[in-house]
């Protein structure tokens, strides 16, 4: 797919609520729009977004055709321990893009 911007606080205190922001570059083509030739442009959307924190799913979302291009997803979780956050976006062709971010919990 393409590039993503992820913001995870690099450091936080144990038990603190942290905000995670993700911005994914994606056309999110609905499949309902005709192109210049009058034919429908094939659907190309992200269908699933999952975030795991040390292997445990802390946030997931299903995305639909009405969602904007370059979807921005922000959510919160509790900083439990140091480790890795894995973000994955899966599109309707079954392709998955994965990005990781690490967090230091004191």
């Amino acid at each position: 797919m393409a590039r993503a911007l992820i913001n995870v606080p690099a450091k936080s205190k144990r038990g603190e609520i942290i905000e995670i922001k993700t911005l994914m570059s994606h056309p999110m083509e609905t499949g309902f729009r005709p192109g210049m030739d009058g034919q429908l442009i094939p659907r190309d959307i992200i269908e699933k977004f999952v975030c795991t924190y040390n292997g445990e799913v802390v946030f997931s979302a299903q995305l639909h055709p009405a969602i904007t291009a370059n979807p921005f997803i922000s959510f919160t979780t509790i900083a439990t321990e140091s480790g890795t956050l894995v973000f994955s976006w899966t599109d309707n062709k079954g392709e998955t893009q994965v990005q990781t971010a690490s967090i230091q919990v004191e």
């Binding site: 590039r3 922001k21 911005l23 570059s25 056309p27 370059n70």
Partner: protein, 253 residues
């Protein structure tokens, strides 16, 4: 649809013209949500293109196998303030050239690569990356007497009535700036954030795309991409916005 747009335009024109003492960026007309989106680099979708542009900047390309960085080095230094100075005079062709045109010229002549398409992903990303280096800097059009004719042409185009609706740019953006066209606020048309991410487009777009957008709304024949008219109008608008801060990549509704 045509009739509806007509009606909307007529209603917009009927609103009283508010005299503006000071120039305002399109940013000031936006809602707090859109403003927050632009201000946060992690929420501003234009930054995705800036990142893409940074990759392109450092990637060798063309027959010369040179990257932009091979000549220009660190863009945060070498490209600082550059976007604030365009359109400028091109010494070789003795005509005004916009930033996108200069990038095309570099790509073709120095990197010996195929010319990137106007409004294509490559050119928009590179323009956004170069533009980003001038963010928060005042627009400072070059003090070049040779540009006077271009600016005069732009000024004439700005106030020339065109299209089936027989409107000029000035009728909306000078006489009725601050009013509304349907539900949309009419800004003063300062080109201080291009290329910008427009929510309606769902993508990054250039100032020339904005021109075409306005002109087709006026039922006029839009200026071709990279045409002298488009560059002249840009030169005039940049002069008109001199001193205002660049916001590239801006977000607009």
């Amino acid at each position: 649809m045509n009739r509806l747009a007509c009606l909307v335009v007529v209603i917009g024109m009927a609103l009283p013209a508010f005299a503006q003492d000071a120039r305002k960026s399109g940013f000031d007309y936006m809602g707090p949500d859109t403003q927050a989106m632009q201000k946060d680099d992690l929420a501003n979708p234009g930054m995705l293109s800036v990142l893409e542009g940074e990759t392109l900047w450092n990637t060798p390309t063309g027959k010369a196998q040179k990257s932009c960085a091979a000549c220009h080095g660190d863009a945060t230094q070498s490209m600082k303030g550059v976007a604030a100075r365009y359109p400028a005079m091109d010494d070789k062709t003795q005509s005004a050239i916009d930033l996108a045109g200069r990038i095309i010229q570099c790509r073709v002549e120095r990197q010996e690569a195929p010319a990137p398409q106007r409004e294509g992903r490559e050119l928009l990303s590179l323009s956004a990356f170069v533009g980003r280096q001038s963010r928060d800097m005042p627009i400072s059009p070059p003090q070049d007497a040779k540009l006077a004719a271009t600016r005069a042409q732009g000024a004439a185009l700005y106030s020339a009535r065109m299209g089936q609706l027989n409107f000029s740019c000035a009728q909306c953006h000078d006489d009725n700036a601050g009013g509304h066209l349907g539900a949309a606020p009419i800004p003063q048309a300062h080109p201080n954030g291009y290329p910008l991410y427009r929510l309606e487009w769902q993508s990054l777009g250039s100032l020339q795309r904005r021109f075409r957008n306005c002109m087709s709304g006026m039922r006029a024949e839009p200026f071709a991409a990279g045409s002298t008219e488009a560059i002249a109008l840009e030169a005039f608008l940049m002069e008109r916005a001199a001193g205002m801060k660049l916001e590239t990549p801006a977000v607009r509704p």
